[in-house]
Subunit: 341 residues, 2 copies
């Protein structure tokens, strides 16, 4: 009920709060004897330091903020798990905020986190964000920021990403090597960097292997209900371009929508049309046929992002020079049934 404070221990022992504080924190100018007494008394009185007071005095909160653009789902839930695990390991708490892909909200939330005196913030940008002064402002105020997944190249801070263009290039190259020739792409909307990069990777892979790029084979999935998008566009493409033999989808969810339509329409996967996903979401092993996809290491991304951030926090604290790193996590092709005849 009534928390015990330093002064309670002090008066119970007839010594000063200074001595109690020092004893508890292991200062060397306290005798073994009194330290032992303090520690024991602290235990019996069930003392727990008041974090808020400590925060005020030490000017650090052992808390980091996280801003993610979308609802906690699929890929971001993996990232979040990685973040939570690593933060816990390093003794930090994490405050989560969702910007819902809105720039204004993202900006407001970042300000809120700084006001809360978090020691650093992790963020993945909203689709709308094309002005980065709020982030630069945070960095200028000595609140370290590290960006992950949806980043801004122009912001000078640490980042952890995958190479979307390369991953997409690899995927399409894989399909070409497997003998597929008329490869469609179900892309995302036009703004986010990921969507653009994956599209570019697709296009370059085609061109690099002497296959002419045909814009009619690119369908846009931008309803934010990836699954439905995949389903409907699959239906559409099979009437408009029935001669395709493979689809590279921007997301596993889109791919699963495609497969579902194919299953219902009696279109054989991969015999008639192969399907390639992106992310290696858990469900891709459950669907039939199992989905070939790109493994996007969300958990690892969360891990690394926290690690980078906390390293920077302690560097700043100890007045060491900070160095910004860009970690590019490797992706790899997970070959399953949806592309092997």
């Amino acid at each position: 009920m009534n928390d015990t404070k330093l002064i309670d221990i002090a008066s119970a022992l007839g010594i000063s709060v200074t001595t109690v504080s020092k004893a508890l924190k292991g200062y060397t100018d306290i005798s073994k004897a009194t330290r032992a007494r303090v520690i024991e008394m602290a235990e019996t009185m069930n003392y727990m330091p008041n974090s808020v007071a400590v925060n005020l005095r030490t000017n650090e909160t052992k808390t980091i903020g996280v801003i993610i653009p979308a609802t906690v789902h699929h890929f971001f839930s993996s990232v979040l798990n990685g973040i939570l695990e690593e933060a816990e390991k390093r003794g930090y708490l994490v405050i989560i905020l969702q910007s819902n892909e809105k720039y204004e909200l993202e900006k407001k939330q970042l300000a809120l986190l700084i006001q809360k005196r978090v020691d650093g913030v992790l963020m993945s940008l909203s689709n709308e964000t094309d002005d980065f002064t709020h982030i630069n402002e945070a960095i200028r105020k000595k609140t370290p920021v590290v960006l992950f997944d949806k980043i801004a190249k122009r912001v000078d801070c640490s980042k952890v990403v995958i190479n979307d263009a390369k991953a997409a290039y690899d995927a399409v190259t894989y399909l070409i090597n497997k003998g597929y020739k008329r490869i469609a792409h179900f892309r995302g909307s036009y703004v986010p960097q990921n969507s653009i990069d994956r599209f570019l990777g697709y296009k370059r892979a085609l061109e690099a292997h002497g296959i002419e790029y045909d814009s009619k084979l690119v369908y846009v999935c931008d309803n934010n209900t990836d699954f439905e998008d995949g389903y409907e566009n699959a239906q559409k493409i099979m009437t408009e371009n029935p001669d395709i033999d493979a689809i590279f989808a921007i997301t596993d969810l889109v791919a699963i929508g495609i497969i579902k339509y194919f299953n219902e329409a009696g279109i054989k996967t991969p015999e008639q049309v192969a399907v390639f996903g992106f992310s290696n979401w858990f469900m891709s092993t459950v669907i039939s046929p199992k989905l070939t996809t790109i493994d996007q290491p969300g958990f690892e991304m969360g891990h690394q992002a926290v690690s980078l951030l906390i390293d920077e926090i302690v560097d700043i604290k100890e007045h060491r020079p900070v160095t910004h790193q860009i970690i590019e996590l490797p992706t790899r092709i997970i070959e399953r049934e949806s592309t092997v005849k």
Copy 2:
């Protein structure tokens, strides 16, 4: 870089910090004129109150803690979204912790949150938790706790739940009415209340409709990898009890594991064996056949839990008597393909 504080505004204006503070907080004993000057100066100096100092002085942090037992996935991601949305709306930040179904961790994390001086905590219990003194202790220390989903009946606090027993009863009754006679149950482990209640609902529905309960038809899924559990137990039950005609699974994920095995083994769903899930997880519409399930309103649950918690926080703050409520959210059967021949 260097944040402006009250004293900066004060000295810029040649007045006291007291006056500045009061002006900013709308105290009535400050003249219109000086208030205007203060507010303007605060704006131009870009003043933002130091939350930590405010927290210390006011003894509240406008922050709530959330402890969930499992990794942010499936059902809990919906709850989390509901929590985040409602907390944002009411001006609270949220700190997330995962207990990984471990009692010791849950206990430690609760203590951590209290030490951090969160204004309240939301928790869903770990599977291991059968001692509730840590929770009672928190409540005794005037940190309100509200339990959701995986609750303990014996703890005196607000709760938001579904009626697991009734939902399960309804599900099994539905199966019986559909003509299924030999209905198995894939249950969860023995400790969590949900698991118990769903099992009891299953058993009661059988008995209420003149079907003898057969303990051999109950399989336990307690590996925390629900999907695999479903898959393996499906394999097992078809050799041990090949005469079943339906399975009521404790979770959509278990159900999906079952369906996956059936699909691979050539067992027709629902013709040979019907499958009934629980939660109405998004993926249940993607699997073939689409899964009949119970809709469990996770998002709404998060909403209500936050609402209850914050109401209690302000009641305590204003010294009003607190009243504990138990909100039971309605569930409903979502009929899909896995149970209709």
